[in-house]
Amino acid sequence: MFASCRVIENERLGEGLVRLLIDAPEFAAQAKPGQFAMLRSWQEMEPYLPRPISLNQIDPEKGRIGFVIRVKGAGTERLARCRPGDYIQVHGPLGNGFPVLEHAGCVALVGRGVGAAPLRPLAEAYAARGCEIRAYLSARSEALLPDWDFYGSLGAKAVFSSDPTKKVTQELAADCLRMNFDAVYSCGSMRLAKDIRLLQKQYGFAAYLSLEARMACGVGACKGCVCRTVSEDGVSSYIRVCSEGPVLPLERIVE
């Protein structure tokens, strides 16, 4: 879908961090957790490219989608300035989302900072299945983490760290000793992803990582957003993060 959609709400989450809710029934009906959209809220030629932003909310009933925007440059600054009633150009849903395992009994979600944004709709999907959810979240400060309260409201147990010496993957490692995770999902930190890979080798759970990349088109045409991956038979190749990702099995990214 490529359409001009109305902004319903701009919620300030913290310094340089906002959540935009957008009226987009067609998009919401198709979207899956882990997918993203190319957003552009300006008519001028500058900034030249739209911005890839992951889905933070998918509400097919109300026909709404939500995105968390962290102001980093000229594009995100413009997006964060959108007011209710403004129209924004939305292209998506794009990419492959997180696989939701039908019979999972317990899953872990590991996210850092604004990178944790796509985990929210995944948590909702698992909560709707009655699956036990553990969230391991970190950020430089609580104000930089979207949805910290949300996981509790779903009945998920969530741990948070803003202490650089305390990695949330240490908590995950402790929980792995007594819990049996079917899958671990992560985004926002390659450092944490590497820790998860070590635990995956030990415990054998399925693990998925959502990647971030500089993108131009968002649909696979420009070949700009590649990442080096390893296939099952050990062959190394580039994949396009936008169209072959952004979610990939962790073992394809981290050896």
Binding site: R40, Y48, M215, G218, V219, C222, K223, V226, Y238
Partner: protein, 306 residues
């Protein structure tokens, strides 16, 4: 509105019902359509450069936004010509729109080899030679050296009956001798031009942003400079010119046509507005109607009138 305007363009045996097509590498047939419009509404579709031999492409990051556009250093990832013929060309069969294949090589002989392997395949209506890639032998882009350009286009001419479009590198002191050399060597048309050599440096990391340090600039920033190339070449060659460089609107397309372009390619603007090509087609048609022209070809080069 004004359905009677004739927008068609002919380049040798390539017949396009309108002058708008994507620039190579920006709008693949099966990937970027987003269901927005039928591909058949375009003048032609363009297959991203197939290199003579397989290539992984450049290390990331491959794209960066800059003022007035973007720089790409994608580096022609390709399955290679043999694998393309074996596995991919079939999906372009029996489309209701002409298909232009972009080819590239690392040595002058590679282009003719690509064309021999293509063997005038009926899936393909014309071939665009991407002559901006660096020649391994000289280190220069193929179209930055007159003798190499003449040889490469001349050998390619002998290897195919398909219309040959020579896509030239803009980073030369004067485009005219290169445009003439391509024409004399047998090109049926010119694409003017490719991206302009460019780079960006991250001042915190104190390093080039792109994985391969430099790349090619595209977008509105190159339009005025590239328009001059089209203008200059139009006065000196007889073969049609396809403009490529910063076309973001129908006004840009019309400007290029007035400078001498018979057709236009839309590149990086597809990324920010995937609907831009049909918008440009409609805009050209409205412009012709408003100004009282019956056919697009009537405005080609009109700005040169005394």
């Amino acid at each position: 509105m004004s359905a009677e305007r004739d927008l068609s363009v002919r380049i040798g045996t390539l017949f396009m019902k309108n002058p708008v097509m994507p620039a190579a590498g920006t709008y693949d047939y099966f990937e970027n359509n987003a269901g927005l419009f039928p591909m058949e509404s375009l003048g032609a579709i363009m297959i991203k450069s197939v290199h003579r031999h397989p290539r992984p492409g450049n290390p990331p990051p491959r794209v960066v936004e800059v003022y007035g556009g973007m720089i790409n250093a994608v580096g022609i990832p390709s399955v290679g010509m043999e694998a393309f013929m074996e596995r991919e060309i079939g999906r372009f069969a029996a489309l209701n729109v002409p298909v232009v294949l972009s080819i590239s090589g690392s040595r002058p002989g590679h282009y003719a080899e690509c064309l021999e392997l293509l063997d005038n395949d009926p899936c393909i209506s014309a071939v665009e030679m991407n002559l901006a890639c660096p020649n391994i032998d000289s280190g220069l882009p193929f179209s930055s050296d007159l003798a190499t350009l003449r040889y490469t286009v001349g050998e390619s001419r002998k290897a195919t009956r398909l219309p040959l479009i020579a896509k030239l590198n803009p980073s030369v002191p004067d485009i005219v001798p290169f445009a003439r050399a391509a024409e004399e060597a047998g090109a049926d048309a010119l694409t003017l031009s490719n991206t302009f050599r460019a780079m960006k440096i991250d001042i915190d990391r104190q390093k080039p942003v792109l994985g391969s340090s430099f790349g090619g600039l595209s977008g509105p920033a190159v339009k005025a400079a590239n328009l001059f190339l089209v203008w200059s070449a139009f006065q000196q060659v007889k073969i049609p010119i396809i403009a490529c460089g910063g076309i973001c609107s129908w006004q840009d397309a019309v400007e290029y046509m007035l400078a001498g372009a018979s057709a236009v390619q839309v590149g990086s603007r597809n990324f920010s507005n995937p609907n831009v090509m049909p918008e440009i087609i409609a805009g050209i048609e409205s412009y012709l109607a408003e100004k009282g022209y019956a056919a697009a070809r009537e405005i080609v080069g009109l700005a040169h009138r005394q």
